[in-house]
């Protein structure tokens, strides 16, 4: 399946493309997507536990299963106000 990955804040500078289109195996999870990104894009290797992940407009847990055409967002801790 194909998903789109978008980056916010300083994560934009770590990504080679934004948004990035990624082909993943069926039933791939958020964790699988992060592993795939770390392997394929060395700059994104710094993505760690404090990375926040959203699928659409909701936060997603590492074990959440992705679906075709999902828009996945990666960003550092938020700082509104």
């Amino acid at each position: 399946m194909t998903v789109q990955v978008q980056f916010f804040s300083y994560f934009k500078q770590l990504a080679t493309e934004d948004p990035l289109t990624l082909v993943l195996p069926q039933h791939a999870t958020v964790e699988d997507l992060l592993t795939c990104l770390r392997t394929r894009y060395p700059k994104l290797a710094t993505l760690n536990r404090s990375t926040l992940v959203a699928v659409g407009v909701e936060y997603a847990a590492p074990n959440q299963v992705l679906h075709e055409a999902d828009v996945v967002s990666l960003f550092p801790p938020v700082q509104g106000g």
Binding site: F8, S9, L52, Y59, S73, F75, V78, Q79, G80, G81
Partner: protein, 129 residues
């Protein structure tokens, strides 16, 4: 509960903001919070802050927080405006207004909204040097 959530790249003019406050019957208490960009960060002077948001998600997360507030406190109205883009030091970056019949719940809900925003709403900042 009436609600308004706005992310804007335009300057927040407090007097217009107040003029547009909804007319509410029996609202005895209105708590406003105005957050402004400070001229220093970690002791060093800055010109301002550049705010970035994931707009659709920010709106959605704000509304989820308001849903929580609505289920917890008898609030009549909440309005919030948050700046996006460059905000000079001294300028307001956020204004929150919570209106209710009595003051205790307005204070609680206003603080809750700000705390939750800082945990969940996808907005980021970057100092302008």
């Amino acid at each position: 509960m009436t609600r308004e959530i706005r992310l804007t790249s335009e300057q927040i003019v407090e007097s217009s903001w107040i003029a547009s406050r909804p007319i509410l019957v029996d609202s005895g208490a209105c708590v406003c919070f105005v957050g402004s960009v400070r001229g220093t960060e970690h002791g060093a002077p800055i010109l301002g802050i550049l705010y970035e948001a994931y707009d659709a998600m920010a709106q959605h997360q704000f509304h989820k927080i308001l849903d929580q507030i609505e289920s917890r406190w008898p609030i009549q109205s909440i309005r919030l405006v948050h700046r996006i883009g460059r905000v000079c030091a001294g300028q307001p970056s956020i204004v929150v207004e919570v209106t209710s019949t009595h003051r205790a719940e307005a204070f609680e809900a206003c603080q809750f909204l700000i705390e939750e925003m800082k945990q969940r709403v996808p907005i980021w900042k970057q100092p302008l040097l």
